[in-house]
Symmetry: C2
Subunit: 203 residues, 2 copies
């Protein structure tokens, strides 16, 4: 079986290089992307949605032109291990999901997917073997029409210089940038003295 243009071995090497290790979720994600493409038109420009933050986005980034930074991949975190590839302009596409009914034959996949045991009690090697054996057989797919209005690009907003941090930010965020409002700040900053001096000059 091929995963797009790759053999399974080639794909796993790419997973290791990008994701850091051959995580079961990225391996399974490879089969999911492959199944989606099998049911999409041969030609077209497809955007992607991952319904989970975990692993699956990396399979999409490795096997499609969609990345999180080019905005063709979006994560709608619904907690389901599922993805959708859809026509960028029309919204028609294919959603691929893991079908729990089909997991009965694959005890280690079932244990992993349904979290029946803590991770350390799971058998990672056996899980990988089962995933490679199962391929697309544990998946289901649906034809979907994506509501493109949910993902419409915002109009270009003007940029402002934040009077607190001195950096650029979208003017539509208000008088100061979201980072300086406090509630979203994720770190304490020890300013570099030179940089700070320059910022003070700016104000």
């Amino acid at each position: 079986m091929k995963i797009r243009s790759y053999t399974v071995e080639e794909y796993i090497k790419r997973v290791e290089a990008f994701h850091g290790f051959s995580a079961p979720g990225v391996v399974l994600g490879g089969f999911m992307v492959e199944l989606a493409y099998q049911h999409l038109p041969a030609e077209g420009l497809f955007d992607a949605i991952s319904e989970t933050t975990k692993c699956l986005p990396d399979a999409i980034q490795l096997l499609t032109p969609c990345t999180i930074g080019n905005n063709w991949l979006r994560i709608v975190d619904l907690g389901r291990f599922a993805l959708t590839l859809y026509d960028k302009k029309q919204g028609e596409g294919v959603r691929v999901y893991v079908d729990p009914v089909k997991l009965d034959k694959w005890p280690e996949i079932q244990t992993w997917m349904l979290k029946l045991k803590p991770k350390k009690e799971q058998d990672a090697h056996r899980l990988l073997l089962e995933l490679l054996d199962a391929g697309t057989s544990i998946l289901g797919y649906q034809k979907v029409k994506v509501d493109l209005s949910r993902f419409n690009k915002h109009e270009r907003t003007r940029a402002s210089i934040c009077p607190v941090c001195g950096e650029g930010y979208p003017s539509s965020d208000g008088e100061i940038c979201l980072g300086c409002r406090g509630d979203r700040q994720y770190c304490v900053i020890s300013p570099n003295p030179d940089t700070q001096a320059e910022k003070i000059k700016l104000r």
Copy 2:
């Protein structure tokens, strides 16, 4: 100048292959990651935060072990073109940002970054040349300590089978999965009849 282990030309080729084209934000992001590493300890395991969804996450994914799917890259969308690389265990790290004060010498970068003209009136070729010329000189950096408690991993939640869609989801999301609650659903599904029949059997 090198961007991590790459020459600038090699890096731009990698950007084109992954991101689809040599987007100015990913090119600039390369210099930002490079500057961050220059001020980090030589050894260590660093997680990453991007303060924007636009372009910058792809530079991080290309130049660090952090990806959106392995969860070592997180996006905290503050609308600022800035990133932080920090020690996974201690939280100490370096935040790199674009310093508007330093853009006066680079009119095309200034126009692009501060959105002074609509994109179609900007000169993409000149912008790229200015970015390559400017390198890290338009950036600032700060030592930071990231509040790791914001990113603590959740306890393993148990998984349930959603009685509506028949798929697995985190039990902590409630009686039905987030996708079936309606407000977050992003598409209309035309079920594959075979699959649907199997799902009905499950219930």
